[in-house]
Point group: C2
Chain length 443, copies 2
C-alpha cells in the first residue's frame, strides 16, 4: 500500500511522476478509513477532495501530513485536547503549518493529543496492539505514522512526548535542539521546555522534514537557527570510520523491563558488529537534579498558561492540569530561577561529554508500551534531554514478546544536530540489517 511509503520516497516518486498525488492521497485516506475505527489517531480529517485540492507545488508537493492538535490550523478545529476548545478554529495557522502549506504539503488532519499536551490521555490506541497506549502526549501523530496512514506527523515534547510515543509505536521520532523548530501558534505546555518535532519511518525522512520546516530566523522567542542537516559518510562527519557511543546509566534503571534491557544489549551488539565502540557513561547528580528542575519549570510556566482557563472554565479543566497549576503556584521564585539557571548550566556543560563520545545511547522508555489507555507511560528516560534541550532521536530496535516495539534513543550535543542524525543513520543501518522485517511499518 502506497500510504506506507517513506516521506523522501513518496516525495521523489511524486516529483518523477511515478506516483500520482490523487491516487496516493486516496490510498492514505483509504488506509485511515480502514484503521481509524480502532486506532483513533485523528480528531478530524479533511475529506479526500479537500486534500486533493490542497496539494501545491514545492518539496512537500502531494505529501499528507498529520498535525498534533496542539498546533493551530485555520481550517480545522484545534481543540488542544481540551473540551474548552472543542469547537475552536484559530484565525491563523501556526508558523510551522504555514511553512508546510508554502512548500506544497497537505494537512491531512489533526491528531489526538493528551489534554493540553499534558497527562490526561486521549482515545488513540497503539497500532501494534489496541489494548496498549501509543504513548503521549503526541499519541495520534505517532500512531498515524506507525500505522501507515501518513509519512510524516508533527508532535511536541515537553518531557518525553515525541521520543516515547515514537518508541512505543516503533517509528523514528526526532526532536532537534531546543528552539530549532518554529513554535508560534503551538499551545504551550511550558515555554522553557516545549520542543516541536517529527514522526517519520526513517532517519532520512526526519532529516528531510527538519530541513524543510526548521527555523530560518530567530524572530521567535528562544529560537535558534540550525543549518541544514546533511547525511554524509561517517569519515566525513567524524574524521574517522567508526563512531564511539556512550551507553547511559541512569538512577532509575531499575524501572527498565527485562525486554528493554535486552533490546539495549541487542542495540549495542549490533552497533559493535558494525565496528562502533561503546562504553558506559554515568553522569554526576547535578544532571539528574535536572529532572526535578524540569518539573519545576513545567509547573510554574503551565500555571501562567492555564491561569485564564482555571478562571473561566474551572469545570472543563482536567484534574491533572489543575494539579500541575497548583504545584506551579506553590513554587518559590527562587526555586524557579535556580531551575532555569541549572538548565543553562547543563546545556553548556553537557558539551564536555561530547568531546569523548559521538552520541549518547539511552533507553527511551521503561520498555514496551504499557497496557491500558488511561496512562501514556513514563517519560523519565527522556526528561533530562528535554530539560537540557539537546537533540534526541528515537529508533526502533526489535519487538517484545507481545509484539510491541522496543527501541533506543540517541542524544547529541546541543546545536550539533547534524552529528546526531548521522549517528542515527548509522545506528538505523545497523539495526535494520539485523531484522528489517520486524521493523516495517505495521500494515
Amino acid at each position: 500500500m502506497k500510504s506506507a511509503l517513506g516521506l523522501v520516497q513518496a516525495s521523489e516518486l511524486i516529483k518523477s511522476k511515478q506516483l500520482m498525488v490523487d491516487e496516493y492521497l486516496e490510498q492514505c485516506v483509504e488506509r485511515a478509513d480502514q484503521i481509524e475505527p480502532v486506532l483513533k489517531a485523528f480528531t478530524v480529517r479533511a475529506p479526500l477532495p479537500n486534500l486533493q485540492k490542497q496539494s501545491g507545488s514545492g518539496p512537500l508537493m502531494g505529501i499528507p501530513i498529520a498535525v498534533k492538535d496542539i498546533i493551530a490550523t485555520k481550517d480545522f478545529v484545534t481543540s488542544y485536547g481540551s473540551p474548552i476548545y472543542s469547537s475552536f478554529t484559530p484565525a491563523e495557522d501556526a508558523a510551522i503549518v504555514r511553512k508546510i502549506r508554502k512548500l506544497g504539503g497537505i494537512i491531512f488532519g489533526k491528531t489526538v493529543t493528551t489534554e493540553f499536551a499534558w497527562r490526561h490521555a486521549g482515545v488513540t490506541t497503539n497500532p501494534w496492539n489496541s489494548a496498549h497506549t501509543p504513548g503521549g502526549s503526541s499519541s495520534g501523530s505517532a500512531a498515524a505514522v506507525a500505522s501507515g496512514i501518513v509519512p510524516l506527523a508533527l508532535g511536541s515534547q515537553t518531557a518525553g512526548s515525541i521520543i516515547r510515543p515514537a518508541t512505543y509505536c516503533g517509528i523514528v521520532g526526532f526532536k532537534a535542539s531546543f528552539g530549532a523548530v518554529p513554535r508560534a501558534g503551538v499551545h504551550p505546555v511550558a515555554n522553557s521546555l516545549d520542543h516541536i518535532g517529527f514522526f517519520t519511518r526513517s532517519v532520512i525522512d526526519a532529516v528531510y522534514a527538519f530541513n524543510l520546516l526548521k527555523n530560518t530566523s530567530t524572530d521567535e522567542d528562544d529560537s535558534i537557527v540550525i543549518p541544514e542537516l546533511i547525511l554524509s559518510p561517517l569519515s566525513t562527519v567524524l574524521g574517522k570510520q567508526k563512531p564511539h557511543f556512550a551507553v547511559l546509566k541512569t538512577p532509575f534503571d531499575d524501572l527498565l523491563s527485562a525486554e528493554q534491557i535486552d533490546a539495549m544489549e541487542k542495540a549495542i551488539h549490533l552497533l559493535k558488529a558494525s565496528g562502533a565502540s561503546a562504553e558506559e557513561l554515568t553522569l554526576p547528580q547535578t544532571y539528574w537534579d535536572g529532572i526535578e528542575a524540569l518539573a519545576v519549570l513545567m509547573a510554574c510556566e503551565a500555571a501562567v498558561v492555564h491561569e485564564k482557563h482555571l478562571e473561566k472554565f474551572p469545570d472543563l479543566l482536567g484534574a491533572d492540569i489543575k494539579e500541575l497549576v497548583e504545584k506551579g503556584n506553590a513554587c518559590s521564585v527562587s526555586g524557579y530561577i535556580k531551575a532555569k539557571q541549572l538548565q543553562m548550566q547543563l546545556r553548556r556543560s553537557i558539551g564536555e561529554y561530547f568531546q569523548r563520545f559521538d552520541a549518547i545511547l539511552a533507553n527511551p522508555a521503561t520498555g514496551e508500551a504499557p497496557k491500558g489507555l488511561d496512562l501514556t507511560g513514563n517519560p523519565i528516560f527522556c526528561s533530562l534531554w528535554t530539560f537540557i534541550g539537546t537533540p534526541a532521536i528515537a529508533l526502533p530496535v526489535n519487538r517484545s514478546c507481545n509484539g510491541l516495539p522496543l527501541g533506543i534513543q540517541l542524544i547529541g550535543n546541543y546545536k550539533e544536530d547534524e552529528k546526531l542524525v548521522n549517528m542515527a543513520a548509522f545506528a538505523e543501518e545497523c539495526f535494520s540489517a539485523y531484522d528489517r522485517a520486524k521493523l516495517k511499518v505495521k500494515i
Copy 2:
C-alpha cells in the same frame, strides 16, 4: 595634560610613538594623585611601576583602563562595594579583563561601586562639584573618565547605572544590546538585566572599546554576537543624508528639571540645525509596565544572588540589599514569568518603532546630578531600555547653572548597535559644534 587624551587619540599616538607609554601612565597617575583626595573614584590603584610593567602589545597597548569593582580582577582586591568582600581577591580575572590584558591594555585600578551595584552609595564625588553625586552604581568609573584620569572605564547597568553617571559626569556612556559584552566574572545584580558597558570621552572611543571587548562567541548564557561597529557617512548608514529622531515622552516627565527640559530642547534644536528631523513619540502603557517588570526581575534574581550573603553575613549586608531580597522573596512565580515574557515581547515589538525613526532621543536623568552623596539619583529614565535590552548611549549637551553637565541619551533597536552609534556620532558632532568648550573633560 596627556591623561585627558581620548582613547583612540592616545592609542594612535602610542602606536606612532609620539606618546611614550611610561610618560603617559605617569601623567595619568599624577592626575589621579592630584584629584583622588577629593574625587575618591578608586578603591585601589596599581602603583606606577606596576602599570608600566603591565603594558603589553596590541590595540590597547599602553592604555590605562579603570574597572568597576563589581568586575573580578586577580591582582586587585575585588570587594563588590561590600564589606563582606573587603579583602577578597578572585582567583581569576573576569572575561572582559582577560580580553583587556590580551590586547595590551592596563588595569589602572578598581573603581568605586555602590554596594553590589545596587543602591547604597560609595564615597565618590562628582568631578564638576564635589558636593554632588557622580551617579551610580558605576560612580567611580564615570568620575575617573570625566576627571581626566583614564580614557576608558568599565561599568555595568541593571537599571540606569551607565547612562545616568555618564550624564551626571558629562561624558559618553555606552551600553550595547543586552548580551553583547562578556559578563563572566562580573558579580550579578540580576542576570536578565545586567549589561556591561563603557565610559569614554567620545562616541568613537566607545565604539573602539566595544569593538575590542565585545563578545565574539555565545559561550556565555544570554550572550549574543554583534558584528564590529563601523562609523560611516550617514548616507551609507541610512541610505539618506539626514536622520529622523523620535523624541520620547514618558509618563514621568514631570520629574524633569527646567534645565533638563532646556537641554533637551537645545539638543533637538542642534540636531535640526544640522538637517535632522524629529517628532514626538509616546509609547503604549505596555511599555511602561516594563519598569515595574524590571523591578520584579531585579528583586527576584537578586534574592537568589544574595541568598548566601544573607545566610552567612547578615550583619554585613546593607539595608537596601536586604529590602531588595525581601521584595524578591515576596514575588509570585507567575509574576516573575510574566515579567520575563513582557521583556521578550517588548524586545521584539520595539523594532516596529525603528521602522519609522533612526533613533529614540530621550532624557537620561531628571536633570543635573543631585546634591549630596547619599543617593545616586533616579534611574527611571533609563530603566525601560535596560529592561528591553536595546542599546543606549549617553551624550553631554550643555551645563546647568551650577556648572554640572546635562545631556541626552539615544536609544537604538535591539541588535542594531551600529546604527545607534552612527546616530550618536552625528548628534555628538551637532552638540560639540555648538559649544565645544563646555563639553571638555574637566581638568
